[in-house]
């Protein structure tokens, strides 16, 4: 075995750049996924008005503005020592459900779904949403577009703007709901529930009834036995907007459970020389390198992490699906990376059911939506972004200006696991130096399951995920380069 160091020059180039190192037998020794990390946020934030943070941070990422908006708003609630009125919390959570509806819909049908609906072996030109529509039918395509738009409209009604909300204020929200808006949302939510049920049935028919797919989901290259993390309510049910951070082990047993204010007592970050990304891990377990198992502190977040970290869903239909999920995939915890897709659809159903509960709550039209703030101090806020646990932490000076800011974003929480999944997928397909284009898709499937948000991977080519894989031989000499969409 050779020790490999990676030229640090490569660390900032490209998106989804993967380097694979082979041993002298031509099998995979190691693999590294390099993703560009946005830098300088703390310095950028210093001296800014704290109440601007929900707007500023919603611009960090074109993908989850709503999640950043509320993680920031909640951190400010804590920093200004104010508890929002219960109606404000419900309005925030309802808006959050709109965000989950459009985000999860987009991922399943447009991004992750094509691998299954069209098939993992289909040529790349077919493996996209157009292929999904061709296979499932134009009518279904219309339903997808309609319900994604509903999710966005719910978010826009509550947030002021669909993509970059302006409603969150420390101590509450700036805008309530009127009766017309309630009626409008009620109609959309009812339709979304049916759409979520339909999506689960589609998954059932196309994926779960196909033994090859189920075998693929359960196969070794796509199995990773890490810890799991997610927010839970007081009954340990999945919650997207609020609760305690719960971590469970490879068998689904609780390892730790903590308030966000104690995050730094529970999570530490490991630094590698080949990337700016910091790899978070559980302090109580420790960093043992890129490996899974109970002795390694790496954990997963996102739909699969959340389901594993909880004991059920808080709404009836989603909870039924939750139970079926574990019965089908062999009990707790489910460690199959590709099960993220199913978990995502169960969460979609939960989001629609929860939205219905909230919009039917008499308090949702209350005008008591903001409490006065206290003196500025320090605060942490946590939400579940669609792709996993998101933490904001601010320290304010006596004038309410930002002194210190720290964020731990969802894809960072998953960074260690994504890296291992990429490596294992590569190991599954590269043997004795045989490298061909089929590894592109197998590797892409491994990290796409996480729905990663490569923050600044915005200037890229159309037509799909830009990906470059460089394979090096045991002498670190470039052996082969595979590219798609570049």
């Amino acid at each position: 075995m050779k020790t490999v160091t990676i030229d640090p020059i490569t660390r900032l180039e490209g998106h989804g750049k993967i380097s694979i190192f082979l041993n002298d037998k031509g099998d995979v020794e190691n693999a590294y996924l390099q993703i560009p990390e946005l830098r300088g946020f703390e310095r950028f934030s210093q001296g800014r008005r704290a109440e601007d943070m929900p707007q500023i941070t919603s611009r960090i990422c074109g993908v989850c503005p709503v999640a950043h908006h509320f993680a920031a708003t909640k951190a400010l609630d804590a920093a200004f020592n104010v508890d929002p009125p219960s109606a404000a919390k419900k309005l925030r959570e309802l808006m959050y459900m709109g965000y989950f509806i459009y985000d999860h819909t987009l991922h399943f049908y447009y991004l992750g779904g094509p691998d299954f609906v069209v098939g993992p072996d289909a040529p790349p030109a077919k493996r996209n949403v157009i292929g999904v529509i061709e296979k499932a039918g134009v009518e279904i395509g219309k339903e997808v577009i309609k319900h994604r738009a509903y999710g966005q409209r719910i978010t826009a009604i509550l947030g002021g703007k669909a993509t970059h909300p302006v409603c969150g204020l420390p101590g509450g929200v700036s805008k309530g709901l009127n009766k017309d808006e309630v009626q409008d949302i009620k109609k959309m939510v009812d339709s979304c529930i049916e759409f979520a049920k339909f999506s689960l049935k589609l998954f059932d028919d196309i994926v779960l009834k196909n033994k090859n797919y189920v075998d693929l989901i359960l196969s070794d290259p796509y199995t990773l036995k890490t810890y799991n993390m997610g927010l839970v309510d007081k009954n340990n049910k999945v919650n997207f907007y609020d609760g305690k951070i719960r971590v469970t082990d490879q068998q689904g047993k609780e390892k730790v459970k903590f308030d966000v204010k104690d995050y730094y007592k529970n999570i530490a970050e490991h630094v590698e020389e080949w990337t700016y990304i910091k790899f978070p891990y559980l302090k109580i377990v420790g960093w043992k390198g890129f490996q899974d198992g109970k002795d390694s502190g790496i954990y997963r977040v996102g739909p699969l992490g959340r389901l594993n970290a909880a004991e059920g869903m808080a709404t009836p239909l989603a909870d039924k699906e939750y139970k079926r999920f574990y019965e089908t995939l062999g009990g707790k915890a489910v460690n199959s990376t590709l099960a993220f897709h199913w978990a995502r659809l169960i969460e979609l159903l939960y989001a629609t059911e929860r939205a219905k509960e909230l919009i039917n709550d008499p308090e949702i039209t209350s005008q008591k939506i903001r409490n006065p703030v206290g003196k500025p101090g320090e605060g942490m806020g946590v939400t579940e972004a669609a792709r996993g646990t998101l933490i904001h932490h601010y320290k304010l000076d006596k004038n309410g200006l930002i002194e210190k800011a720290n964020l731990i974003v969802a894809t960072t929480n998953n960074a260690g696991a994504i890296n291992m999944s990429v490596r294992d997928a590569a190991k599954g397909v590269i043997k004795k130096g045989n490298v061909d284009n089929s590894i592109l898709n197998m590797v892409e499937m491994a990290f796409r399951a996480y729905d990663p948000c490569f923050a600044c991977a915005t200037h890229a080519l159309p037509g799909g995920m830009p990906l470059e894989i460089k394979v090096y031989d045991c002498n670190k000499k470039l052996y082969k380069t595979l590219r798609q969409n570049l």
Binding site: E37, F44, I56, G62, H107, L111, T163, C456, H459, L461
Partner: protein
Amino acid sequence: MKTIILGVGNQILGDDGVGVHVANELKKHIQHPDITIDEAITGGMNLLDLILNYDKAIIIDAVKTDTEENGKVKRILLSDFSTMHSCNPHDVSLIEAIEIAKKMGETRIPKEIIIIGIMMRQIPCEFREKLSKNIATAVPKAVKMTLIEIKKDLKDLKSR
């Protein structure tokens, strides 16, 4: 002819926001009932939503390139497009979004979509509000090119 000019980019990511800088500059030059100037930080599906119902869309955006000179401004037809804001792992590209919409029978897609692209060698990865020197000099060039594009269709446009 109803036209939308859309500056695309993230203003807190330095050069990434150049499209928005250009749009803001254009607002000072153009006032016409048929022209809308807006900004967006988004791509793909959301970007398509913003340009529906217009006859023509002019999208001003940074374009990642490995061969062109940094800060060069180019007029590109969407159909020739090789690089675009709007493709991230959690979205489809604008071209894909348009293709999907057409399949669904969408009739409100602009007949003409032009990109005013500001060539960029490096992807900005650092939070800052200012543009780099090279890219800042591209702003007036992009403004000029957009005005020429507009005047082709609207002879009565009074630019200030």
